[in-house]
Amino acid sequence: MTLSNRMAIVGVGATEQGKLPGSTSHTLAVEAFKRALADSGLQKSDIDGLLTMPGTTAPEGSLNYLRLGEALGLDPSYTGSMTMGGGTAGALVQMACMAIDAGLATNVACVFGDAARTGGSRFNRASGWGDSWGIWGMYGAAANSAVAASRHMALYGTTSRQLGEVAVACRRHASMNPNAVMREPITLDDHQASRWVVEPFHLLDCCLISDGGVCIIVSSAERAKDMKQPLVTIAGMGQAYTTRTLGREDWWYVPHQKEALARAFKMAGMGPQDIDVAQLYDNFTMSVLLWLEHAGFCKVGEAGSFVEGGRIQLGGDLPVNTAGGNLSESYMEGWLHIVEGVRQMRHACGPRQVEGAEVCLVTGRGMTLNCSNGMILRRAA
């Protein structure tokens, strides 16, 4: 039987975000768990599944589930850690759904904490198995997306100012979010005047590096009906990957994202016309443009003009990243995108609430453009 609307997100929790000296990946994950638990109304003893993403500053790496599980005093019936960068949060929530559906767990906490800012994580790794791309100076996460932006600009005439529209929208939304790290509004001129990082990216095309923790609790929709919060179900979900980089000519365009979203739309029985608000993974501004094309909000090559004129701002046709995204809220590698999606569906977003929103698309993508997923959240009628 399809998973559509049979699973629900019943609790979300986020710590303070930004620069939090004295915090560690571990303390932030614990605090996020406590906040999500309180949000859900569940007791700790109700949590029998624990899925985690090791922060970049978590020394135990893939053994994070053990470290965190012990700290939380859990003896879960299902657990594990996964490392897909910004693709992890969505993949773990979907894994939680599958575990619950399979009867392996009842209430699954998905947890992430990282002190990337104070810990000095720079996301500067050179990709390339075998001969490292570092031989040619190809370093860091920004460069991969810059390759996509450069190609998109050359093929379709996309401009830096159009990328700037994404940055401006995210910042405006962050200005309405008291938990956001960067709340001072910016203009397109500010974007253009910010220093180059990797051309064609200015500084304001790039996400933040942040300390923080996030926890998302998943349960069955049936159980969720009797829980504390308004019911938010997962109407559709999908994933898609390419492990190839240089080996695939269209790698730069991350075409697998389109497949991931097609799967999510199919499960939900929906299409882009049904989406009221979207939380699109924005490690860099360019990524939002690609998602808009992959989701079918516009045609291939047309995302640049699509975002002009405030269309993705609150009050526009398709509000995107209503909490500010990785670009301005906090770089929680997509975890906060899910949190904001849930809060929008609960109609709990105050001044940044999309009025009457009932369906939210949330996307995640990670590693060297390799991993992608999408979820369609729905406010229960």
Partner: protein, 136 residues
């Protein structure tokens, strides 16, 4: 020349033929002896048919700029005095793509679609890094 302080490949049995050829002024790639797929980067099994048998084949080294970026941020201190420097994704006429640099011209003189050809930059006695120049 002064000592080269930037990253160089670690040679092993797998990639040594590639770098030996570069030192000798050739761009050699692996062609699968089973399915004929020409591949880069170096790998021990063909990613198409998984055959272990391959032959080193000299390619033209000609191609075009598929995408092009310019680094201003220093991610590795070894490049601190090089910024701004370019990195190009090169589409070889023979099929594969590789990351490299376009040399000999200002960063703003290169655009996506430009024709290029390989040149070899001998950075140590053992290693010559394949880079590209604009084709005349």
């Amino acid at each position: 020349m002064s000592a080269y302080t930037k990253p160089v490949p670690t040679l092993d049995d797998g990639n040594r033929p590639f770098w030996d050829a570069c030192r000798e002024g050739r761009l050699d790639l692996q062609r699968c002896a089973s399915c004929g797929h020409l591949r880069y980067p170096v790998s021990h099994a063909c990613p198409e048919c998984l055959s272990y048998d391959s032959e080193w084949t000299t390619v033209s080294g000609k191609g075009k700029v598929f995408s092009y970026i310019v680094f201003h941020q220093v991610y590795n201190q070894a490049f601190a005095e090089d910024v701004p420097y370019n990195v190009a994704l090169i589409q070889l006429d023979d099929g594969p793509r590789m990351f490299s640099n376009v040399t000999g011209v200002a960063n703003d003189a290169v655009k996506v679609g430009d024709r290029v050809e390989v040149v070899f930059d001998a950075v140590t006695d053992e290693i010559a890094i394949p880079r590209f120049k604009l084709a005349g």
